[in-house]
């Protein structure tokens, strides 16, 4: 089954320029995605006249970027009528480079914003309208805002099961405006009352103009909604408890990396607990400061992603925040980093296990741990020893086991730019990602800590 947006097989040398031009066009426009070009060896060795630019003829490929005017009006109408609107923002905002237009929309209507895993950074975390990440490991205010909403203004998001939980109980009283450049996403999971196919930059520019014109500086009155949400924010902030085994808390380490590095840095993460904590505890202020494989679930993503980010923007501080499991899938790329002078910083959140799987084994399988123990911690046989591995690849290796060493190690990594840096943070293995909606359940079942569900006021539930 294909996993690319499109693929080409080239068997003649003269077809190479045209196919490559078509491949780049397809990969970078519409809903972007990878394109595979397979060039046969005899085409590689063949000779042909080089004609550039080649004619690219793709009669079946015409992404719609301009939205339908009527739909913009219909969306504006729903927004004006809504009492409990939420801007449900996905990675499409970042791909469309529409973060400014989003900010403008948010200011025009004053609605709360939730940013999915792929949209962290699409809207500043420092903005009081940002409720954080929704979904399985989302904040209680973000999850609840979607559940109780009467209008989801869905922008470049796709109702992934990690956001919706059980679909039939997701945001049951909400109408849906769904904007996406890919028509196949609209109505796929959730019926859209107002479907809009288009590029978000164009859509939001038109929608903002329509709304500004209609509202003339006034804002829809949603004070009651904000009262409810702000109360949730006060009662259920993101938090964590210190590990019982006396080891470092992973959330603390990640928080400090974020705070010391600041919003101009780039953070890439793999897949698992460290990924969720990185999404939760780092404050993102700008698009593309958070790199993540999202729904593809690609373990081992962070080192290559950080490497690419550092090459693209060499003046930025670039972190790969990785797990001890993920790191062992792509750590060989440290060779590329060292050889080509790409000084990335790797923070291994080393809990000596496949932490997310272990968390599920703890919570849902009576702590029957099976194949999640990786033996990379300091109280194990340490295979591999990440310090030795870092040094073998020509990197600076630092091990951190105590809380008072955390800041110094991060600072040393930030100051070291003549080679890559690997910090092995030895953290408690029983730390868990909270809040959590257990898989397959309704988002109403969100727990902010183990067996701790938010308390609703009398009659408020359901």
């Amino acid at each position: 089954m294909p996993i690319t947006k499109h693929s080409f097989l080239v068997t003649k040398a003269e077809d190479i320029p045209g196919v490559l031009a078509a491949a780049v066009l397809i990969a970078t426009t519409g809903r972007p995605g990878p394109v595979l070009v397979d060039i046969a060896k005899d085409a590689q060795n063949g000779k042909a006249e080089f004609i550039w630019p080649p004619k690219v003829d793709l009669p079946g490929y015409k992404p719609v970027t301009k939205p339908h005017g009527k739909q913009i009006q219909a969306a504006a109408q729903l927004i004006k009528e809504a009492k409990r609107p939420v801007l449900y923002v996905g990675g499409g905002i970042i791909r469309a480079r529409a973060d400014r237009e989003l900010l403008e929309l948010a200011k025009i209507i004053g609605a709360p914003v939730v940013t999915t895993l792929m949209a962290r950074g699409a809207f500043p975390d420092s903005d009081p309208q940002n409720l954080g990440m929704p979904g399985m490991h989302g904040t209680v205010p973000a999850v609840t805002a979607l559940q109780r909403s009467d209008l989801l203004i869905t922008l470049g998001a796709r109702f992934d099961d990690r956001v919706t939980g059980q679909v039939k109980t997701f945001a049951v009283s909400a109408k849906v405006i769904h904007v996406d450049i890919d028509p196949a996403e609209i109505g796929k999971i959730r019926f859209a009352d107002v479907p809009i196919v288009g590029d978000l930059k164009e859509v939001l520019t038109e929608l903002n103009a329509e709304l500004s014109n209609d509202l003339k500086g006034t804002k829809p009155d949603i004070a009651e909604w904000w009262g409810f949400l702000n109360d949730l924010r006060t009662r259920y902030p993101l938090g964590y408890t210190e590990p019982e085994d006396g080891k470092l808390s992973p959330q603390y380490v990640i928080t400090r990396i974020g705070e010391l590095s600041g919003p101009e840095a780039v953070f890439a993460a793999g897949v698992g607990q460290h990924q969720m904590w990185s999404a939760q505890f780092i404050k993102y202020e700008r698009p593309n400061s958070w790199l993540n494989s999202g729904g593809a679930g690609t373990m081992g993503y962070s080192v290559p992603a950080a490497m690419g980010a550092k090459v693209a923007q060499p003046d930025r501080l670039v972190w790969a925040i990785d797990g001890d499991g993920c790191f062992q899938m792509t750590n060989q790329e440290l060779a590329t980093c060292t050889i080509n002078n790409i000084p990335i910083k790797v923070a291994i959140i080393n809990n000596s296990s496949l932490g997310m799987v272990r968390q599920w084994q703890t919570l849902f399988y009576n702590s029957r741990y099976s194949n999640t123990d990786l033996n990379t911690g300091t109280d194990t046989i340490m295979v591999p020893d990440f310090l030795k591995l870092a040094e073998a690849y020509g990197c600076l290796g630092i091990r951190v086991e105590k809380v008072e060493e955390v800041d110094a190690a991060i600072k040393l990594a930030m100051e070291t730019n003549d080679r890559p840096v690997v910090i092995d943070f030895i953290v408690g293995r029983d730390a868990m990602v909270w809040p959590m909606v257990p898989a397959g359940l309704s988002n109403d079942a969100v727990q902010f800590a183990r067996d701790e569900r938010p308390v609703w006021e009398e009659g408020e539930e359901e």
């Binding site: 397809i26 079946g60 490929y61 028509p183 196949a184």
Partner: protein, 169 residues
């Protein structure tokens, strides 16, 4: 579940059929009939697919077919405004005693005999699926030795043309 006829205008590229069939397979849709051939425009082919599926999943698969780069247009052909034809070649056992009965059936169904052997006939029949099925029923008692058929071919009634519409854009 209901039967739907989809007509796809596609670029004639190697591997295209796999992509189309793969989309149906991934959604667990069974393709009941499939007919592929070139069109009046060089480089373009038409695929006629008959599937049994509910309306909503069909809409999703149509959207996803449209996403395939080499698929230019996907149209669902509604029975009221569509001409549909099946084409079959049937080899029937015959002998001196049964040949005339078979030939009578051939005439009744406006089919044609295209090959004659001492103990068999090859018959060609064209028509709507129901007619072809009825013809098979009639021939069965004589003994059908072999049967091959095209998938359903379908085209919209009237002067409108999918290809013309697409090429104008």
């Amino acid at each position: 579940m209901s039967q739907h006829v989809l007509s796809l205008l596609v670029e004639d590229r190697p591997g295209l059929l796999t992509r189309v069939a793969g989309l149906f397979a991934r959604r667990g849709f069974n393709i009941e009939s499939l007919a592929v051939g070139t069109t009046e425009v060089e480089g373009l082919s038409r695929i006629t697919v008959v599937v049994s599926v509910d309306g909503l999943p069909l809409e999703q698969v149509t959207k996803q077919l449209n996403k395939l780069i080499n698929v230019i247009k996907v149209v669902e052909l509604e029975p009221e405004t569509t001409v549909e034809r099946d084409h079959m070649l049937i080899k029937v056992k015959t002998d001196a005693a049964t040949r005339s009965q078979v030939l009578e059936a051939v005439t009744l169904f406006r089919a044609r005999v295209i090959d004659v052997a001492s103990d068999a006939l090859i018959i060609e029949v064209t028509g709507e699926t129901a007619k072809c099925q009825a013809f098979i029923k009639v021939l069965e008692p004589f003994g059908i030795k072999e049967l091959v058929q095209s998938g359903v071919l379908a085209i919209g009634r009237g002067s409108k043309s999918i290809t013309e519409k697409v090429l104008k854009q």
